[in-house]
């Protein structure tokens, strides 16, 4: 008797839980889980879309082709360069800003709000604005540089020599505010006592920073770096709008490379529908990003131990 009642209760309680969970769970299964399985399945098929007949099983062919694909590895290199440069510039700037603006000074709260603004804007829309700003002849940046005599010939910002730099500038613009806020939160967590005792012990500002502040920022720095690494691997909007991966694939990044086998990169570009290969590329992308993240976590754990 007791077992039956308990069983009934167990069923009822589970049903109740699932009834609450269901809306989100449905969305999750349909929009997050199902696509992953679809993609993993099509890695092993050749499929050209609706009109080209049924998918054909090709085993590991797609994956092998990814490893052979020079253009893919170029996009990997571009992604690492882009991510590396972005992190290299954004983090120190964000840290300095956080350092200066976390002090209780007049106006600092206002400056914080202002510098955070790029984060809330659409990277696609602002990408368009930067595209206009960096335009060779009509962009305001060249106009200004030429007008003040800093340069004598317009700089081809979106040409193959400078496109990556322009992308990084745009990315830094969009990212500094975001990471500044994380740093501020981290700085605020550093206990006043530790700083006090350091000052009492006679440490000057620089020493305090080096020995107390930076180590205690460790955890937040870990989070920031992890977020920026994952963001850099999947960021596609800026590249799509500013350079479309060009010129001649000079700024093609991993995420965009996989995307182009499904959808057009820009209006009017020709798509060669190769869903299986695109799925394979995306999977390899995810694996590479995953490996980098794991490597990073392992490294940061080691650093934690040192401290």
């Amino acid at each position: 008797m007791k077992n039956e009642i308990q069983k009934k209760k167990w069923v009822r309680e589970n049903l109740r839980s699932y009834s609450l969970l269901l809306p989100n769970l449905l969305l999750f299964l349909v929009f997050s889980v199902y696509p992953v399985f679809w993609t993993l399945k099509y890695v092993f098929f050749r499929y050209g879309g609706f009109a080209s007949g049924d998918p054909v099983f090709v085993g590991l062919d797609n994956l092998i082709r990814v490893f052979r694909d020079a253009l893919y590895w170029k996009s990997v290199k571009n992604t690492f360069v882009y991510a590396g440069a972005k992190i290299l510039f954004t983090i120190p700037l964000a840290f300095l800003l956080a350092l200066f603006l976390s002090r209780k000074k007049k106006g600092n709260a206002f400056f914080q709000s202002v510098i955070f603004v790029p984060t809330i804007m659409s990277s696609a829309v602002m990408g368009l604005v930067f595209y206009l700003l960096f335009n060779v002849y009509n962009g305001q940046i060249n106009q200004y540089l030429l007008g003040t005599g800093i340069i004598s010939q317009p700089i081809n910002w979106l040409g193959k020599d400078h496109a990556m730099k322009t992308l990084v500038i745009t990315a830094v613009w969009g990212g500094v505010g975001n990471y500044m806020v994380y740093f501020i939160a981290g700085l605020q967590q550093i206990s006043e006592d530790a700083l006090e005792s350091a000052r009492i012990d006679g440490a000057n500002r620089l020493q305090t920073m080096w020995y107390i502040t930076i180590p205690m920022l460790g955890p937040i720095l870990k989070i920031i770096l992890m977020l920026s690494i994952t963001a850099a691997f999947s960021d596609m909007n800026t590249v799509m709008v500013l350079t479309e991966g060009g010129p001649t694939n000079a700024t093609m990044v991993m995420a965009l490379y996989g995307y182009q086998f499904f959808f057009p990169v820009s209006v009017g570009s020709v798509v060669s529908f190769q869903y299986g290969y695109g799925a394979a590329v995306s999977t390899v992308n995810a694996i590479i990003a995953g490996m980098v993240t794991i490597l990073y976590l392992k490294l940061s754990k080691k650093l934690d131990e040192v401290y």
Binding site: G48, G49, F50, A51, S52, G53, R65, R68, D69, A70, L71, V136, Y137, Q153, P154, N156, L158, G159, K160, A163, T243, E244, G246, P247, T248, N249, F263, P264, V267, G268, S269, V270, V271, S272, F273, Q274, Y277
Partner: protein, 478 residues
Amino acid sequence: MKKLKQVFAFSLAAVMSFSLLTGCGTGSATSNPTGAEITTAGGAETSTVPSGEKTVITIWTKDRHDADFMQQKVDKYNAINTHNIEIKYEIYSDNYVQAVDMVFQSGEAPDMFVYQEQIFANYVHAGKYADITPLMDDEFKSVFANSFINGVSVIDGKTYFIPTGAVTCRLFYNVEIFERVGLDGPPETLEQMVEYSKKITAALSGEGIYGFASNMKGAQSALARSFDQAVQRSLGINKGFDFAKGEYDFTGYTKIVEIWRDLLSADSAFPGCESLDIDPLRTQFAAGKIGMYMSYTSAEPGVYANQFPMEEEKWACAEIPALSGVVNGAQDYTVNNGYLFNSDSPNLEAAWTVYTELFANTDNLAEYYSAGLGISLVPDAIAKAEPAQCYLNNPALLIGDTDSIYPKPPHTANTDAVIIEGQNYYDSLAELIWNGGDIEKGLQDITDRYNKAYQTGIQQGIGQDLKIENFDPMHPAQ
């Protein structure tokens, strides 16, 4: 109880907002089908007949440059036709190919599509387009005799569309600039083109005027309207495929790549070509900053008449020169302004009626030609038309003796059968042009990759051997 009420209110709100959304959705899908940018000339809308009775024919187009013209014709037809037909003319100028792909997938394809090479190639073998031969009468066949082109509009004896227009590529140059620098006329060889361009740049770059430009932001877009044609004329090879040998051979391109490197070098070309798009190029040409460039004949006259106004005397067009002036092949041209018919459409007969009365109406075609919206292939339309002044001044804009239609190379004839690994040849050529490097090695790499993809397709049984016996590049249409 309060909590029950809350739960109820919660879910009711959620359900209601949902149904509102889905309701809104299907509503807006049918109520306002015209794409974003069209501004209808008032609305000579049809009389208020209850919806069940009218046959609605939906037509998709990708063209914006003739949108106003076509919409006017459509509105007029809707008002006066006696068949109780209403036409819905929808513009999908962004991502036309993608939109067609998606619509075939969801099974809601329109009745008619404006012809576009890729959507045709993608779906014709799947039987999505109707064979319109049985719908034609003899008069139709004779009026449009020029439009039955084997391999293009006629495949395996079935006719799928009737192109009424044609497009080719030419060299556009600024007459004023040429006069200023002392050049008598357009260049007659590719080498001369380089020479002229450098001369212009040397003389006038101080004023911001340069000899040559190309919209290299999209390598395919730029080279497919210039480089491909130079190759066809000089080597008789279409898009890398040698029909006589039945294989891809890019190795003969060496000299032409060298010429392009020269053309786009700093002492010849407009700065920033690598990220130049076609419209900014046209703006600069209209502003008199560019000496020469190559592009399609269908759009340019309209562009310089309406979009980026330029005095007609200032620009002219000429044939694209060949290497050393020696012509070894005809230049390919493409057809357009054809309409494809959805084979699954329930309104095929009605669609055909609409087509013959409106789109294949020689008066309308003549008007289209006179308005400078495109070059006509139909003799009756040409006879009735008063060609726009620019066609009279520049006969080179029209299709001539040196133009002919090449058969399609494997990678465009059957896109599934030829899957190229790595970059397409346009991007590879662009790399060779911009980044230097060993040209012969680069061309050999392209050749190998394309042949490999071609052979793989044949081996897998989905590709065909496209060698043509006794292929004559001067008359490729035979």
